[in-house]
């Protein structure tokens, strides 16, 4: 009885969303954390209109990275609480279905954080997008997926290490450097409207393809390494 990939993936995703919705306190805590990050960033960098547009790209993405890492650390928290991961490992369900569902769940979760933080940045830094807003949205989506797909994979690896919370950023940040460069410079290019972010979009697309495939191929090994 080969288990249908899509059905398992959808079931896991809906289960995760239901769990998040049931214990909404985790989401509220995360949203408040994101708000704090934006406010503190606004204090530490004097947002006068002129050059704020140039550094805003960097600030926004570092803030998103910060919030994303805290969210990614929670990826496997529920599976660990009652060793539910063992139940998954024993079942014939494909490991990639679990991975994809977790990655999509994280993507939605981090996107919600970003959707909340962006207007705050616009307010605090009174930003106006000079370039094309649609490519900014595409850049944000590709960038978030780049962080989330690797984040979910490395969160699974860091399950097997001693200091779990610190291990995730240690593994995630070096590998994500090209994605971070692309996101920051792409956003600045669009905000200032000076040059097109086409190269950065292509790079992020390549990054997403490479690491989604890599994760799908290697996740089974990581899941069963106990």
């Amino acid at each position: 009885m080969s288990v249908d990939f899509i059905r398992v993936c959808r079931a896991t995703l809906t289960k995760d969303l239901r769990l998040e919705w049931r214990s909404r306190d985790v989401i509220n805590a995360m949203l408040f954390f994101a708000l704090l990050v934006v406010v503190i960033f606004s204090f530490s960098f004097d947002p006068t209109a002129e050059e704020s547009r140039h550094i805003a790209g960097g600030l926004i993405w570092v803030a998103f990275l910060f919030a994303a890492v805290v969210a990614l650390n929670q990826t496997w928290a529920r599976e660990l609480r009652n060793d539910v991961l063992d139940a998954y490992r024993i079942s014939p369900a494909p490991a990639n279905a679990l991975f994809l569902a977790k990655a999509i769940g994280n993507f939605l979760f981090v996107s919600i954080l970003e959707l909340l933080m962006t207007p705050l940045f616009v307010v605090f830094y009174n930003l106006r997008v000079l370039g094309s807003a649609s490519s900014l949205a595409l850049l944000a989506a590709l960038g978030t997926w780049a962080l989330v797909v690797n984040g979910t994979f490395f969160a699974a690896i860091s399950l097997r290490t001693r200091s779990r919370e610190i291990m995730l950023p240690l593994l995630l940040f070096p590998i994500s450097i090209p994605a971070i460069i692309a996101m920051v410079n792409g956003t600045t290019a669009i905000l200032t409207g000076e040059d097109s972010a086409r190269f950065w979009l292509v790079l992020l697309g390549a990054y997403d393809v490479v690491f989604t495939t890599g994760s799908m191929l290697l996740f089974e090994t990581v899941l069963h390494a106990e």
């Binding site: 009885m1 289960k15 769990l19 529920r78 009652n82 539910v84 139940a87 106990e226």
Partner: protein, 229 residues
């Protein structure tokens, strides 16, 4: 009881070590199908490690494990029902939601299977309370229901009766006996051997990672088992 010639579980020199500590020491044993085995032993005797290795959750350091004729641990696991100390359930979901999700993992879409499993352990399928608020005994019984869900050929149950009241425990034993008679191979580890008196086909005594004795009756601890029941 069908004595199928080829044993359900075949262990050859099975060892499992965590660094220097040897949880299992070159265990060689055969367990035939359609039988209920009760594994007894003090803490740290290796009972849980043995079950986890049988379930394919931890790989042996040395030696081989063959289950239902398969040596690749991934091939046999769908035919296995496993129950451990932790509940392997989501606390925020209700009983039915949990089972519906795990049924999906086994490719089972039919709702009735879940409600039958819950009724089999004398729980109410319409209970909407989250599993987190269940009593420990109820959670154990739901965990047993989860292990039954995929109609496994083999059941590996790690102390299923702990924190369960006497009547429910006896109901669980009857359930295990019926499954054994239906041909399932069942391996149970427990500290309450008395519950399985007369039901278990064989009592296996473990000490310090090795099987020290196998008897028909749990009272006769002829072997060196220091197990205090």
């Amino acid at each position: 009881m069908n004595d199928s010639p080829e044993p359900a579980i075949l262990l050859r020199g099975l060892s499992k070590q965590f660094g220097k500590f040897a949880a299992l020491r070159r265990v060689t044993a055969e367990f035939s199908a359609g039988r209920l085995y009760c594994i007894l032993g003090g803490n740290g005797a290796g009972k849980t490690t043995l079950l986890r290795t049988l379930a394919g959750l931890s790989r042996p350091t040395r030696g081989t494990v063959s289950l239902l004729g398969e040596t690749d641990f991934r091939a046999a696991s769908p035919k296995i029902g496993y129950m451990a100390h932790p509940s392997l359930l989501y606390d925020e979901l209700s009983g039915m939601e949990n089972l519906r999700y795990f049924a999906c993992l086994y490719g089972i879409a039919d709702e009735a299977r879940c409600s039958d499993a819950i009724r089999a352990v004398a729980l109410d399928p319409t209970l909407t309370r989250a599993v987190g608020q269940y009593s420990q005994g109820m959670r154990q019984r739901l965990s047993l229901a989860r292990a039954f869900l995929n109609r496994p050929e083999m059941l590996l149950l790690d102390e299923p009766f702990s924190n369960v009241d006497l009547t429910s425990a006896q109901a669980m034993v009857r359930l295990l006996c019926d499954s054994r008679d239906a041909g399932k191979t069942i391996v149970v580890t427990t500290h309450q051997a008395a519950l399985l008196d007369g039901s278990a086909d064989e009592f296996v005594w473990m000490d310090a990672g090795a099987i020290v004795n196998r008897t028909k009756d749990w009272k006769l601890s002829a072997g060196s088992a220091s197990e205090l029941i």
